[in-house]
């Protein structure tokens, strides 16, 4: 943005300010009050709010100004963010109301990500809560530099100076740990209007700014014109025999005649013309403008290729395939090492894999600790590896550089990953750079008519797992489903021939089976695994490896029944001491506590297969 350079005759773009904080701490109320006190409401709006409040047995509920959805009003909770224009002292703002409930964190980020400044609302009685900390952490990760704290509901402390000072110390300490400077700390009551637009009479001791004064002091966005030129290619058009390289300038300035480099290949070209339609013709364009370039020679860059000045002119972007990121995670299942994603960076898309989770944020005290996985709505430092080197400028608060976003194979945005820089190669390791498939789950689905998934059959030896698995495989394939079986004995005859039956070897057997199952499932297969897999812990490992689409199925038959069946004579041999570590006899079997499906294996294998078959059919539809 270029507000700083604006001649006074031009109107500046509105400054977005986001209001964040824990659920019910009074964000929506604050905005409603702010709009009312500054006379920013449209005619008739107040009457509507009074009417909607009365209908629900409430006195004036200011939050209804923003909480327009029925569910929001009925539940008294903000679900999605809203943006409303707001005029203050000759300057335009956009106030963004963000939901405080953890379940709607993705909506909070949607509202907050482009804000220039934030107001963190903290309830004076409750103090900082879990979402206060989560939101504060996010403010830092999305790069918001200017933070105002509003101690709301100070009426409940009777605006007592001492108690408010205590609350202030606590909040400042918390934000200090995140390296967030508090620009203003305003004790206020959103409901009653104290220190919102006018000074509170109940806190004569307070000499700091009101909220309105604090907002007026938010600086204009920093200019990106003075930085080195960057333009990610958005698209390439050919209209009437002219080729246009279209994009929006991220930063810097470009002029006709400038020499530029294109993407990682580093081809060079000259800007022959800067093209616009129905606009004053100038041979120059700056950060923020959506333009089209004609290049000489007439090269055809790809979407996502970064255009930047030829070497010698300024700092080049970083180029690396190992990237350190600080991640916020939005998927409802945890993130684990080895998962692959598309990293979207401006208009570019790169295949990346999580190489390591280096540290996870503990939300209770905001410290970093080692961790195996990133929990839903969690934060972590993570190393990503790309299949090829990528170009980027490291993330910096207030700029649009390094804004990585992770997208899963279902095309869903699952996290934000500010790119911090190049990751060191861990010593003594052989760096692996797995490549991700270019085929999406959607394409496979369309081809096959069903999802890939893993159905993991566990049960005592002789319970009928293999028989049932083979029957189901046959039925599924007959009805057009791509199904296959990974059977314990088959695996042990080949892939796992080097393994015995010690607990370690059993675990390794399961680990290998789970990885094979995952590869097959990702390629769209329905995989039925038939493995005794006696230990709950080992099955948990399998579930973790497979991830989404793992179904634990208990093929349930009593030990006594299995022993009388004894189709392979194994129980007899085990009882005679000829087979050591035999599950059920001389090694433990942990029956699953809560399998996705329990199959009664005391009847015929056909009826068991039918039960399993119909379960599978519903899960892959």
């Amino acid at each position: 943005m270029t507000t700083n350079d604006l001649p006074p005759s031009l109107r500046a773009a509105a400054t977005p300010i986001v209001i964040v904080g824990h659920v019910d701490h009074g964000k929506s109320t604050l905005i409603g009050r702010l709009l009312y006190d500054t006379d920013s409401l449209q005619d008739g709006k107040l009457a509507q709010i009074v009417e909607s409040s009365r209908k629900r047995g409430l006195t004036v509920e200011w939050s209804f100004l923003l909480d327009s959805l029925q569910i929001e009003r009925d539940q008294g909770v903000t679900v999605d963010s809203t943006r409303i224009p707001f005029h203050l002292g000759g300057r335009e703002f956009v106030i963004v109301d963000a939901p405080g409930h953890r379940q709607f964190l993705r909506n909070m980020i949607t509202g907050a990500a482009d804000a220039e400044a934030a107001v963190l609302v903290v309830d004076a009685l409750e103090g900082a809560q879990e979402q206060t900390r989560r939101h504060a952490m996010l403010l830092r990760l999305i790069g918001i530099r200017h933070v105002i704290v509003l101690l709301n509901k100070s009426d409940l402390l009777d605006f007592d100076q001492e108690r408010i000072a205590q609350a202030e110390t606590d909040v400042r300490a918390l934000l200090g740990r995140l390296e967030i400077t508090v620009e203003a700390f305003v004790p206020a009551s959103a409901r009653d209007g104290d220190n919102i637009a006018s000074r509170s009479e109940r806190a004569p001791w307070y000499t700091g700014p009101t909220l309105v004064e604090a907002l007026a002091a938010v600086p204009a966005p920093a200019s990106r014109l003075a930085l080195d030129f960057r333009m990610p290619v958005q698209d390439v058009y050919r209209f009437d025999d002219v080729r246009y390289v279209a994009g929006r300038i991220d930063r810097g300035v470009i002029r006709a005649g400038d020499r530029i480099m294109i993407g990682v290949q580093g081809q060079q070209a000259t800007v022959a013309e800067i093209c616009r339609w129905h606009a004053p013709e100038t041979p120059v364009a700056g950060a923020g403008e959506s333009i089209a370039l004609r290049l000489e020679p007439d090269l055809v860059p790809d979407r996502g290729d970064l255009l930047f000045p030829v070497s010698g002119a300024g700092e080049p972007p970083l180029k690396t395939a190992r990237i350190r990121t600080r991640l916020f995670w939005l998927r409802s299942e945890p993130l684990r090492v080895g998962e692959s994603f598309t990293l979207r960076l401006s208009t570019a898309e790169h295949d990346v894999t999580v190489a390591s989770i280096d540290a996870v944020v503990d939300l209770d005290d905001l410290t970093l600790a080692p961790g195996e996985e990133v929990p839903p709505d969690g934060f972590a430092e993570v190393t990503l590896v790309a299949a090829h080197a990528i170009l980027f400028d490291p993330f910096a608060p207030g700029y649009s550089d390094g804004r990585g976003v992770l997208v899963d194979r279902f095309q869903r945005i699952v996290g934000g990953a500010p790119l911090l820089g190049e990751a060191e190669l861990p010593e003594g390791t052989h760096a692996i750079h797995p490549t991700a498939s270019r085929v999406t789950a959607l394409q496979r689905r369309a081809l096959q008519g069903h999802e890939g998934a893993v159905f993991w059959l566990t049960g005592l030896p002789g319970s009928g797992k293999s028989t049932i698995a083979r029957l189901v495989e046959k039925d599924l394939v007959a009805s057009g489903v791509r199904a296959s079986v990974l059977d314990g004995d088959t695996l042990r005859a080949g892939l796992c021939a080097d393994l015995g039956f010690s607990p370690e070897d059993r675990r390794e057997n399961i680990r290998r089976a789970a990885h094979v199952a995952r590869i097959l499932a990702e390629s769209g297969q329905v995989v039925i695994v038939a493995l005794v897999s006696p230990l709950a812990e080992d099955r948990a490992l399998a579930s973790q490896i497979v991830g989404e689409g793992f179904h634990e199925i208990h093929v349930d038959a009593s030990l006594a029944l299995c022993e009388t069946r004894d189709p392979k004579g194994l129980y007899a041999a085990a009882r005679a001491g000829r087979i050591p570590d035999f599950t059920g006899v001389s090694a433990p079997y942990d029956a699953p506590a809560a399998p996705r499906l329990r199959i009664d294996a005391t009847g015929s294998p056909e009826s068991a297969a039918e039960a399993l078959g119909s379960f599978i059919t519903t899960r892959i539809a």
Partner: protein, 277 residues
Amino acid sequence: MSLATPGVVSPRAMDDLDQLEAQSIFVLREAYRKLRPLSLLWSLGKDSNVMVWLARKAFMGRVPFPVMHVDTGKKFPEMYAFREEYTRKWNLDLMLGDCPPVEEIDPSLPPAARSAARKTAGLASLIEKHKLRGVIAGIRRDEQATRAKERVFSPRGAGHRWDVRNQPPEFWDQYATPYEDGMHIRVHPLLSWREIDIWRYIERENIPLVDLYFAKNGKRYRSLGDQDITSPIDSDASTLAEVIAELEASKTSERAGRAMDHESEDAFERLRVAGYL
């Protein structure tokens, strides 16, 4: 090839309209790249004319996808004349969609909502017929409180329903892509524009409009819906400059003249969930 000496010319400073324009162009180019087949809803009103204009800015003077007009048959005659004239002048590939007769629409709805539901049905059949994956629509946040909750790329699942409780994250200019067969994305390039911005931009760019927006005999239309459910406001603003001055002083909502927004508290939300704009 012009060889300018670096440092001589500086870029033009961007004001608020320049920034809105640049962002909308970015959004339109994303839609054209990611969502095919794509089409733009041209209601013939001021916002959708601005949208067509922005598309021409994005694609060097042309609109490289069809525009659609969902014809309720109840528009003002001036609007049909405008449609003919600018389809030709702007070289638009125009697709027309009919709406089912009002008798086929749920009779339990209040009258204006029922009329809006007709338009939704007309739009739905155009989307099905052309198997559209992207539909560009000119809604704005400042028009209506549930529109204020919208995304720039707003996914519509089976039956074109808007799942308001479960919208995807949208940040750092990364937008949702369709992830299921049969779904489409509503693209809203004007979401951040305010009514006054639209008028100032029309003035700056000299974008043509039907003259129903300008006062005659003390009345003008601020928003143009169907003839039977839109009413004019009292106004003497007969030029662009006067309209802008009037809006700068006004505190009433643009859609105050639209009946369906006022029939009950949740009427508009229900219309939108069912696929209305």
